[in-house]
């Protein structure tokens, strides 16, 4: 469809209609889920797809899910066809990062939408992805420093969890038998099912009201609309090549200073984003599958284009992505990937923004904390005589902007999960939080200061195992235009009053009464500090 054939009025109306399907799915998922990770922290996303697997709308939840969900639908289109074709009432579950997933805790449910029971071809797909706090594997929380993916947890290839409306109890039993917290998982999966069902109902309702032809027409129209907006943005950038390299501290297994390199070439209204030169995939779990790298690229361009653009696959149309197979930005099986999603994705954003800062200096901030500070604590809760798994990510400093300081103590870029309230977590787990405060002077100096990180100290009230998956402990977030770097983060064990430094990534056994003190990085500063007299 060409621009001229679109009705600008219906285009606007459909934009809201499609967005509302995904948003409503999100409300159902959030409110009916079980685990604090989904309900309190909102670590999930919901989206609507056309028959080809192009994403039409996504509720604005978690950026790292944004660009990666279409690959789930594409995988399902690849697997289920011919005699295996999906039927009305089917729902497919998956988490295999090498088959449409991202990392194992993110379980995705995809449902085809059929106009009626006897339809043979779907009219679209709805899908949601939620981070489950445990999917088995070598450590509680399923975010270990592993050396192969099989240690990270249960791998679920695309299989039908629901066939013609009936849950397959064998699939559910198999999953629940492999996780530490089956009750919670079951509840969360039911919430995911309810969410998709709501999405199906809404899309069908729209179809009855407006007709399938028009729905299809405007699905395509909105993809083209977002593409136009992206092309306008890219055309506004000076043609040229912009390169940036930054590093992950380590892979948790001793390999340090892992480069991620990008070269962005802008030519008229399209961009080539080339990660050639990035490190090969690593032994430790910092590998990103292609879906993650796509999400990071998508996120950065989505930010620069402005607020009010539909979140759909049209965003990627003007962008050619080169990510060498077998590299840290396009890992191959059986590389472990738990941290690719949560840590490497942040560094990919850092290099993308670092490159684009050269083209758009006033609109790109200095580096933000560049990590999600993942911490998982698991063990046995004597109070309830059950296993517990607590997963948290911690905010930090944001990079300063060309006209203002960076925000302190908040999540940046690829995540926006909420914290677990202290009064909720102490009720649910044998843990006690002793401090939760802004980490003073951790933001980088500059004409505008980087935001400060957070200090969060948690005491375990029982022996427990803790997994840390954190970065920017060795190499700080960069400043821009002469601004100083932010402070590195620190992980500290406080045992009997004594502070012992901990590595950025690793697993350790805590004793009852031990305190885990997380001090998260500050953001980079912007502009030379002496360029204003006093601020």
């Amino acid at each position: 469809m060409t621009h001229a054939e679109l009705d600008p009025i219906r285009l606007e109306v459909y934009k809201h209609l499609f967005a509302s399907v995904a948003e409503e799915m999100g409300v159902v998922l959030r409110k009916s889920a079980y685990s604090p990770n989904i309900k309190e922290r909102r670590d999930y996303s919901c989206a609507l797809f056309d028959t080809q697997g192009a994403m039409i709308s996504q509720a604005a939840h978690i950026p790292v899910h944004l660009g990666s969900m279409p690959l789930s639908v594409l995988e399902i289109l690849r697997v289920f066809h011919g005699s295996q074709a999906l039927e009305s009432g089917d729902m497919v579950i998956l988490n295999d990062p090498y088959r449409g997933g991202t990392h194992l805790p993110d379980i995705t449910l995809v449902a085809p939408v059929f106009e009626n029971e006897s339809s043979t071809a779907p009219i679209g797909f709805v899908a949601n992805r939620a981070h489950h706090a445990d999917v088995g594997g070598m450590q509680p929380g399923s975010m270990p420093v592993a050396s192969e993916i099989f240690q990270e947890g249960l791998i679920i290839p695309p299989i039908k969890l629901i066939a013609r409306g009936q849950i397959n109890p064998a699939v559910l039993d198999l999953i629940l038998a492999n996780v530490r917290t089956p009750m919670e998982r079951r509840g969360d999966l039911f919430a995911q099912i309810a969410s998709n069902r709501r999405g199906i109902d809404r899309l069908l309702e729209m179809t009855r009201r407006y007709g399938l032809d028009e729905i299809n027409q405007y699905m395509r129209g909105l993809l083209a609309y977002t593409e136009r907006m992206l092309r306008n943005l890219i055309r506004s950038l000076p043609d040229g090549a912009y390169a940036c390299t930054d590093y992950l501290d380590d892979d948790g297994l001793g390999h340090q200073r892992i480069p991620i390199q990008v070269r962005i070439t802008i030519e008229d209204d399209s961009a080539c984003v080339d990660f050639t030169g990035s490190a090969p995939q690593q032994a430790g779990s910092v590998n990103a599958v292609l879906a993650i790298t796509m999400s990071a690229v998508y996120y950065v361009f989505r930010c620069l284009v402005g607020l009010d653009v539909p979140n759909n696959s049209g965003c990627m149309a003007p962008i050619r992505l080169i990510a060498p197979a077998g590299s840290i930005v396009n890992a191959l099986k059986p590389a472990p990937v738990a941290g690719g999603n949560v840590e490497t994705s942040q560094r990919i954003v850092d290099v993308l923004l670092g490159a684009l800062a050269q083209a758009l200096p006033s609109r790109v901030p200095a580096a933000s904390q560049g990590t999600m500070n993942n911490v998982t604590i698991g063990g046995w809760d004597d109070r309830t005589d059950t296993a517990f798994t607590y997963y948290e990510t911690v905010g930090g400093g944001m990079g300063a902007r060309s006209d203002r300081d960076g925000a302190s103590a908040t999540h940046s870029h690829m995540t926006n999960t909420l914290n677990t309230p202290i009064e909720a977590l102490e009720y649910a787990y044998p843990l006690r939080v002793l401090r939760y405060e802004v980490r003073d002077y951790s933001g980088g100096a500059g004409k505008y200061h980087g935001g400060d990180g957070i200090r969060r100290d948690t005491m375990v009230l029982t022996d427990a195992q803790v997994s840390l998956l954190t970065d920017r402990r060795e190499l700080p977030p960069y400043g821009l235009a002469g601004g100083a770097s932010g402070s590195c983060g620190q992980n500290v064990l406080i045992r009997d009053g004594e502070e012992l430094p901990l590595p950025g990534k690793g697993t350790l056994q805590l004793r009852k009464g031990d305190i885990l003190s997380l001090r998260t990085p500050g953001g980079g500063g912007y502009g030379a500090p002496d360029s204003t007299a006093n601020d």
Partner: protein, 694 residues
Amino acid sequence: MPSCAGLPQQVSCWRVNMAKLSIGIDIGGTFTDFVVHDPAADALRSFKLPTTPHDPSVAVLEGLASILKPDSTARIIHGSTVATNALLERKGVATALITTRGFRDVLQIGRQNRPQLYDLFADPPTPLVKRDWRYEVDERVDAQGNVLIALQDAQVDGLAAQLRLQGIASVAICLLFSFLHPEHEQRIANVLRRGGFFVSASHEVLPQHREYERTSTTVINAYVSPILDRYLANLETAIHSVALKSSVDLRIMQSNGGIISPAEARSNGVHCIMSGPAGGVVGALTVARAAQPPGAEVKIISFDMGGTSTDVSLCEGDIQTTSEASVGGFPIRIPIIDIHTVGAGGGSIAAVDAGGALRVGPQSAGADPGPACYGHSDTPTVTDANVVLGRLPGAYFLGGRMPLDEARAWHAIGELGARIGLSATETALGIVAIANAHMERALRVISVERGYDPRDFTLVSIGGAGGLHAAELARRVGIRSVLIPPFASTLSAYGMLAADVVKDYGITVMLPGNIDAVTLATQFQPLVDRCMHEALAEDVGPENIVIQQSLDMRYHGQSYELNIAFSPDYRTAFEAAHARAYGYHRPDVATEIVNLRVRAIGRVAKPPLQTRNASHGDSQPALLETRQVMFDRQLNVPFYRGELLQPGHALHGPAIIVRNDTTVLLNSGDNAVIDAHRNIIITVPTDGSNEATP
């Protein structure tokens, strides 16, 4: 009418003495509205004065001076934006916060999320208490309410002096788990109150878990209450100087749709943040209730389309409140009327974006410069689109007091259309369709998405701009009946006259969901006693107090709760509510009772709505003229003068009713009657004749 017989001496029954004037006053951004019931004349009248933003009491007193006579007795119910503005404009008092050691930054960190995912320049709101004014004390209570670190007097002794040195006027106290063990907060509060500070303590304001939301609510209360206190003190003094011999009884509207005494409001300012919108919904509910046969359950969706935004709220039997509201980016977790707002109103600006889509809102032309047809700009808006379509003839606007510049509206819409290759009328139809789509979405959010069937509800249009859109929106969401009350634009002030005394209490208990109802009733008792006591203190007789008990419940392991009326069979009620809200339930899974809630409603007598007998006459005298109006095609449409329509008159769409306060559009197939209260009741066909025009 309430009776005072048999009551103890000290409890005087606050009844509506029918010799008393009843005056509802709502201060809005542009106008201050008055609705007056005079029992002597058995008349209800309303008027508006321009709001005086520098001191809102000026307009209030001017209005009162015109109503009160030296010997009047009056009951005044007042809703005001004083607390709201203090919060939104950050003009509250110098406020300190006292927290458990290690947690003073909870207020700043919030839930550690950023407000916009894809905006690198958007920041979380700056906390209301700056860091230097957040104090920590050594104390700690655990999740079971056990004291781990006892608060020492030495921690508290020096505080007052420190705060005074900083020029602090007001103090919020929020300690971890204080809802389980309030004693530490109480001791600090006692010392500071003796020291002359205004104190807002979290165990009093919101004794519920989730420390950030509780802190935020407690801080807002500390920040705005002294402002409201000062305003009310001035107002009370001034009222007595205006009406020296008058006996005036003042009540304040709250965000939960109920009223409280000024004394209560002055220490609980956070309860008054949404008083104006709450008045509107109570007003809508009251007129809808009066329009139905007695005893029938009232199910309405109130629809308040203003200049910048549109508020919608669903009521099933009674108004609904939410504990998940946010104002100005700050969570407020006390029960507040559940209103959903979208950025589409009469003044919403239409524009074409870089991708070639026609946009409407959220930017608004406001009242100044206003829509193009106001004559001060060339900005095309929803109101201009209605002018172009012939639905809002310039000569009739506000009863002819403010003629609209139709040519300017045509020009503005025409220019916009030229950019996307559409005629002015096509563009205008598009603007109305997009604005309707925004408002339709809001109606769906509060109804269909929450498991309510819109066909069971009546859409009550309040505010001036809604009359042109209400019937069309009803059609789009499947609502069959629309009610437009006779004083649509001052309904909020009327709602204040009709509001009951409402007291809400909730406390976090974390009990297993299999606890028997008798035990639970014992747990409720202290709350019920407190609620009853405070309702009696509002001068309501005990026979007029209704106590509602409810539970916030969830399945074990969930972290959002559903509010369930307390009954012996509460577990079954929870399952049903869960199934309705989320499409499934799990009777095999254990449940938890998170919060107990008690609401005391003190029924006060309401000024009766005027009733007139049906006229069998013809509506012809009200017919003004027939004009061309644009729908999907041009139609000849009769225009009626609303003030001349009599009860019993029936109209058939297409038709337009012009009134001084609003203009009402009937589409083809709509039928309207004027009822005994002069409401316009529109019946909208739901036979599928509404062709899908998004």
